[in-house]
Symmetry: C2
Subunit: 208 residues, 2 copies
Amino acid sequence: MRRSPNPEQRRRTLCDAAIQLLADDGVKSATHLKVDRKAGLPDGTTSFYFRTSSALLRAVAERIAELDLKDLTAATRRTDPSSQPSGLATLVFRSVNGARLTRTKARNELALQSPRDPELAKALRRYTDDFTALIRDAVVRLQPEGADVDAALIDAQTYTVQMFIGGVMLACASGDRRFHTATELDSLISGIVRGVGEESSANFRDSL
Amino acid sequence: MRRSPNPEQRRRTLCDAAIQLLADDGVKSATHLKVDRKAGLPDGTTSFYFRTSSALLRAVAERIAELDLKDLTAATRRTDPSSQPSGLATLVFRSVNGARLTRTKARNELALQSPRDPELAKALRRYTDDFTALIRDAVVRLQPEGADVDAALIDAQTYTVQMFIGGVMLACASGDRRFHTATELDSLISGIVRGVGEESSANFRDSL
């Protein structure tokens, strides 16, 4: 007697095939039938596990978040402030290189799709929140020694770094990458935090 | 006798309908038939003007570039360094608000599609190059008075601001906007330029 496949393993296989399709050909190509064939499974398998297109995309978002979370945990462990490059820069650098670029491309596709699908948006947000927390930690560690911690400033710096990283991930997915090491990226991130901080103090002094 | 439609005008009408479809429902919805119906024109009109899906997307990219270029020209005219907010911040602020957000969403969709379609990538790049030049001008104007102009540094600052703006446009297209005025945006851009400059001099000093 043949063992029936483990449903969790089968779901992962289908989601991984969908990630590859999303990265290569975009949302319009991530159909149930194409996923079946990409995964080398009988026609109808994807429909059996994920009834709708939205259910499939949501499962893909959750699979991406699961994979991302492992990387994030590894990055968070590198919290030694003296480590160069930082865990954050290393994480971003890895996510736009090699096999992980596929996942980044798929994530971009889902992000663009998310305003049209609230459940998908929710699934994506779960990871985004963890990622934002990592950025905020990095920003806090980059404050000048002895400085008062200003929550509004930390917010502005976190936002600016986050938008920069979002832009980098989008550009790299289009083949436009202009840094060669995580250390270069780290220096740009430190520059953003330093400059937004100084600009904000300058504005504060101006407003006195 | 009915006058036959002006072909240029007709092409514009079809492209504008396609921009709306791209923004609302993504690349997968920008089919010839849906564009016909969105534009309120007989079935087959879009296929008559743009034979393939790629030809349609390329025409849309050119239409977006034509509209963007008007805004860019207006922004470039605001070159008075004392004008607050700068032309660049004003341009970005406008492109993520009101009716122009539709165009920004459509541009994001095309950008994600572009690695799969070299002709589309070429059409998009024409505008990107002009936009990069505007960013570079803004960066040059933000150099500290009397500083030596260092081309590699200007490149790094331009790149960082460009990635930040790309991230802002992507996030705003997903409904995530966290600034309320062009002046706030301007201050973040100035902060990036200042900080990347200082970080770079610090690294230079460290390497001595």
